[in-house]
Point group: C2
Amino acid sequence: MAFDVFGTVVDWHGSITREVDAMKLGVDGDEFALAWRAGYRPAMQRVMSGELGWTVLDDLHRTMLDELLERFRIATLSEAQKRHLNKVWHRLDAWPDAVAGLGRLKARYTICTMSNGNIGLLADMAKHAGLPWDCILSAEVFRKYKPDPDTYLGVARTFDVEPREVMLAAAHHDDLEAARGCGLVTAYIERADEFGARRPKDVSPHPDNALHAQSIADLAPLLGC
Amino acid sequence: MAFDVFGTVVDWHGSITREVDAMKLGVDGDEFALAWRAGYRPAMQRVMSGELGWTVLDDLHRTMLDELLERFRIATLSEAQKRHLNKVWHRLDAWPDAVAGLGRLKARYTICTMSNGNIGLLADMAKHAGLPWDCILSAEVFRKYKPDPDTYLGVARTFDVEPREVMLAAAHHDDLEAARGCGLVTAYIERADEFGARRPKDVSPHPDNALHAQSIADLAPLLGC
């Protein structure tokens, strides 16, 4: 079982909002979190198009952060403070059900990440949030970002199994659709509050997902755990 | 803290001897295990010299296994049985102290593998033996085999720390020496029985190691755990 991480297992929006608000920078943490995340796809696109060579997410986050600090007119941070803030992505908190749900699934399946986060980011986050991964797989291992097929197929190849023996769980239909295109089985995890409780996300089921669960804790019994 | 795995954390010789003996192939499991392991360095050397392109250890093991089956005149195995036997490296048992020792170290440090085993091999082994890694790092991540500097320095880069902030623990002085050459701190783990109790290995201390421990359980208190 492979898991998307940002939004699916951890609450990036709430974690970043809380940390930015606590820094008293005179900006709205919620807006800052959304703006940072909005830079994610375009930054990865620059790598996938070949405009940028292989660049790990920490470094993409830093480029975005420098732009955001200018845009939000924050000029008071030292280099050490910027480096620390950039690593807020290593300190994201898990959704309340995630640790227990993963623990139940782990008793029966091999559970791994399949995230665009770099290995160190995901390992630090697992240590911070208590996520009991059997293995951390990352775009960094395959040097391709999702939704490149090499990432989904890479999970199957890593464990020497057929794609149909791998389930991807994610809170994003586009990620799941790309995984199905590679032959993986998919499970949708509702995370209506991914962008904050004030902006509920449409979490309608998609008929092509084998499973649809409200949370990871909810997914476990659907798989007999 | 990064750990060498084969011989340091798990008992490859005992595990393979036991499994081969249990297969009743009419060969001596101890001799078979030693012969298989003897092919390890030459096989990796073919990759590191460029004679072979990047090849994961599972595939190198399979090439060696096919040669061994001929040399030991074993002609009775089906393809499925050969594939299963090749994965004995995924099913190695931990040294008796390893799980508890790693658990204690994990409470204070980030503990990862730095092994020439491929990611899937190490993940399966962790699941089999109960090894509580925070992160599985492998030659496969860096596409270089130890003792290439990219592997040791890759651990530091993965966690965005200086090489001197990483400790490598291993039962092999040559591995530790190469790590020190990259600036890592090193801990030697005695595993006198690595090649079987009948062939005790010289486990004399080397003065350049920061620490010398009889086992991983023994290493923990030396690090305040």
